[in-house]
């Protein structure tokens, strides 16, 4: 029963992800006094891309063609282990939160390699920048997550979220630090302003877009969909770890229904915040990103230390 539920929950993740992207875009357009596309536009784009013939460079190898599938699979696996609307998730046990970070690493590893595969300046540039950003972001994310796992003394996401739920509303300094670290990391890792601009195609400012410049057709669709899932994953991680209230603890239909509503509400609010920051802030220079992410790393470490020193029972 709960394995079927895990499957359905993963499907929900995959299906809802483009909607979240559309929602963020809608808000950004409105905030910038532009006419907004329909919320369903990302779905139409994906559908269109899957029906186009992909064009691949002569110089590309098998790795270039395999990468979209690997990236997509890694993201779906990551989605399958993150509790979305219920914490009773059997798949969460097969891969804990460190493995989750590993899934992100695998996707990034192959995307960077695919960027270098064709042999253009853009690809290498994107790969180099992406690895730089993620080198700083990944440890910061681990620090933020370790704060949670140490508090819950479990690296299993389902039981860690369950622990936060049991504790109720307590203001913990460590969680505040971890939350801010996590938000900064999420912005960097999903390639949003001020670290990267998902809408840009200006050579010198691209990070993520530079790596995937050569992709087209269904390959591009897979990569775009994977990025949408990644955005949603970070949103769900932030809302379910730090504000887990409303998540279902069993499979009662009413509980699941309210959990879904709560989740959509939380994600919608987060997305509005994202749209506001993206509108209000300008993109940083590449070499200021390190300050941004070192700050996240420091916050994560502070969270961990304040948990150890102030909160943990001896």
């Amino acid at each position: 029963m709960n394995w079927i539920f895990a499957f359905i929950q993963t499907l929900l993740f995959i299906v809802l992800a483009p909607l979240l992207v559309g929602w963020v875009k809608w808000w950004k357009c409105r905030l910038q006094n532009r006419k907004a596309p329909s919320l369903l536009q990302p779905y139409r784009d994906l559908l269109k891309l899957t029906h186009k013939q992909p064009v691949v460079s002569h110089t590309a190898s098998w790795l270039f063609i395999a990468t979209p599938y690997i990236v997509f699979s890694a993201m779906i696996l990551a989605a399958s282990v993150v509790p979305l609307i219920s914490i009773d998730l059997p798949t969460a046990a097969s891969a804990d939160v460190i493995v989750l970070v590993g899934f992100f690493a695998i996707a990034r590893f192959f995307q960077a390699l695919a960027g270098m595969d064709v042999g253009t300046a853009f690809g290498g540039m994107g790969a180099s920048r992406e690895m730089t950003v993620s080198t700083l972001a990944e440890p910061a994310m681990l620090m933020a997550i370790f704060t949670l796992t140490m508090a819950a003394s479990s690296t299993n996401l389902a039981s860690a979220i369950g622990y936060v739920l049991d504790q109720g509303m307590v203001l913990r300094p460590s969680f505040v630090f971890a939350l801010f670290a996590m938000i900064l990391v999420a912005i960097a890792e999903t390639g949003r302003i001020p670290v990267d601009n998902p809408a840009t195609h200006l050579e010198l400012t691209m990070i993520h877009e530079a790596m995937i410049l050569e992709y087209s057709g269904r390959h591009l669709a897979l990569i775009e969909w994977a990025s949408a899932i990644k955005l949603m994953l970070y949103g769900v991680l932030i809302s379910n770890i730090f504000f887990p209230w409303g998540i279902a603890v069993d499979f009662a239909p009413s509980a699941l229904g309210t959990a879904l509503l709560w989740l959509l509400l939380k994600l919608a609010v987060l997305a509005v915040f994202l749209a506001i920051t993206e509108t209000a802030l300008a993109k940083m220079r590449l070499f200021r990103v390190q300050e941004f992410l070192s700050f996240a790393y420091l916050l994560g470490l502070l969270g961990l230390l304040s948990h150890i020193i102030l909160e943990a029972s001896r």
Partner: protein, 709 residues
Amino acid sequence: MILFLAYLAVVLSLSSALLALLIRQQAVLATGFVKARDKGVRLPPAVEKFLVDALSPTRFQSRLQQLVFLCLGLAGLSAILSGLSVLVSDSIVRDQLVLGLPWLPWHVRLDSLSGFFYLIIGLAVAAVSLFGPGYVKDYDEQEDSFTVLGLFTGIFIAGMFMVLLADDAFFFMIAWELMSVASYFLVSFQHQEAANRRAAFLYLIMAEVGAIAIILGFGVIAGFSADYSFTFDAFRDTDLSVTWASVAFILALLGFGMKAGLVPIHVWLPEAHPVAPSHISALMSGVMLKVALYGFIRFCFELLGDIQWEWGVVLLVIGALSSLGGIFYAMMQNNLKRLLAYSSVENIGVIFMVLGLSMIFLDQGHPEIAALGFMAALFHAFNHALFKNLLFLGAGVIQHQVHSLNIDDMGGLIKRMPHTSKLFLVACMSIASLPLFNGFVSEWLAFQTALRVDVIDNAVLRSLIPVAAAALALTAALAAACFVNVYGVMFLGLPRSRHAEKAEETQDKGMLAALSLLAGLCFLVGVIPGMVISLLNNVSIQIIGNALPNVAAVNWFWLAPVSAEQASYAAPLVLFGVLLVGGVSFWYLRRNSALEFKRTETWDCGYGGLNNRMQYNSVAFMMPFRRIFANVWELDEKIDKKSSDVPQQVSEIRYQLQVDDHSWRWIYNPIERLVYGIARIIGRLQTGNIRIYLAYSFVTLIFLLWVVS
């Protein structure tokens, strides 16, 4: 039986060394064979036919080389078998050999710990023996080379086995020196070049300084032992005061750390590894460093008695320094083997860091978590042996085919060397610790150990261990960036040199078999880590006295070292998921054959003329890191611009980059100056004048007479 196999491994490696000596004796052997046949020695016709063929001048050399490597392969195989059987049966085998000093015969002991390292060496030697015949074919024209190479390879491997067997300080040091000196000759193998001689000399000095430290360490324990017998059994019974134990610990850390390559005593490693032949660097980096680790574990966890948490802190700090320093320096290298050598420093740092965690937990009274850390460290040692061997052997294949080790000379090899490139990718994924490969499992276990910090009461330790975990996380992320760069620049993109353009896949099946064996093991251990964990449990019981807290939860596909609610990882399920999702999406998107992809030109912004010089190379790839972490290296960047007649236009631009190790400037050069200065002062005594020397003897005589009276 176990001991017989263990001895067999030593004897076979020594006999391969002796066989290598025969390479010039083709004429003698052939005439001897003819004479024996004339005298009426009859052999079965098949054997005789084989011998006639093998002894012919044209075939002799390659046949003998194959025989030498066959011996090594059998040695590796028997080592694997004996190691496995000790580990599975959880027994301790002892023996005494009538060799050595009159009152101190060589004590031999094989237990779970040495059995595990026997297994590691056996696997590496087996892979090298497959790889070797194809690799040494190059040396045909220099006739004497193979003699030296084969002789010292055999002695080197036998020395490593003997270190593991030794159960008294005397035998241990003999084996240790055999290993060090033989590897010195292997490093100086291509001694025609001055740089190689310099590297070998540096290695010899550091190996000997390390050996002296180890001898002193043994001396400290022996000084307190009851009967000065120098056996490890006597050492185990010796009780040392905390101060003296700490002195012995520092000496051991210096001695074994020098061999293992801890920062800042790592400098021989990046010099020595690139100059040795590839299969030797594979053994040195993959295995010899592990022998040093073995020595350290044996010394500290068994012989020294009670562990102090301060030692763990020392290891944690030095390990963090080594892992971060190693990977930072690795990132800036463009010589592939030098890069791999620095990456070994990183991995050894990680191992020592986790070992430090284990020491801290052990002293603080949490043996079950100490066991977890200990197993994470040993598991990482095992994994590192596998993937570092694979990387070095892969580097050997590439050097063979591309005639260069500079990664910026390569590019596009994925199309020209399809098999090697896939196997190398496995190694890069393992070392970047991506899920489903072995490097990830040990890193996961290491994080699980660090996350159990809340059981500790000591406030300093409570805040120190999370910082160590942060360093570990940063190291892992940097390693991923480093190996994306390595793989991307070497195998992807357009070829950057003519050699790379003309490179071909190696035709030698043995070389590919060696790589495939190691790559297969990397993947297998990554998917079914429970296999290795169950072997390691016995080691942990023997050394720490505790197995994993929840052994029942660790089976062949489920890894839950603490408890199932707290942490678990099921790699087979993850593999199943990847295959399912990847397969479904692949099938779904490919079903319309009209949408088969089209090959065209690369997008060039409409300007045209993309060439291989426009790609990122490793220097460009690492540029953001150089800017962000600028103080980590001693950087010397020079940009020369020549302006042309047109104002504001540059006609020529030249970029030079030199990356140096801080430790040379701050540690080694001052030491060198100090030694030189002292030598000059002492040198004043030596005037070369005979009257002064007579005066010295006279004064000494008077002084001695005064003392005696």
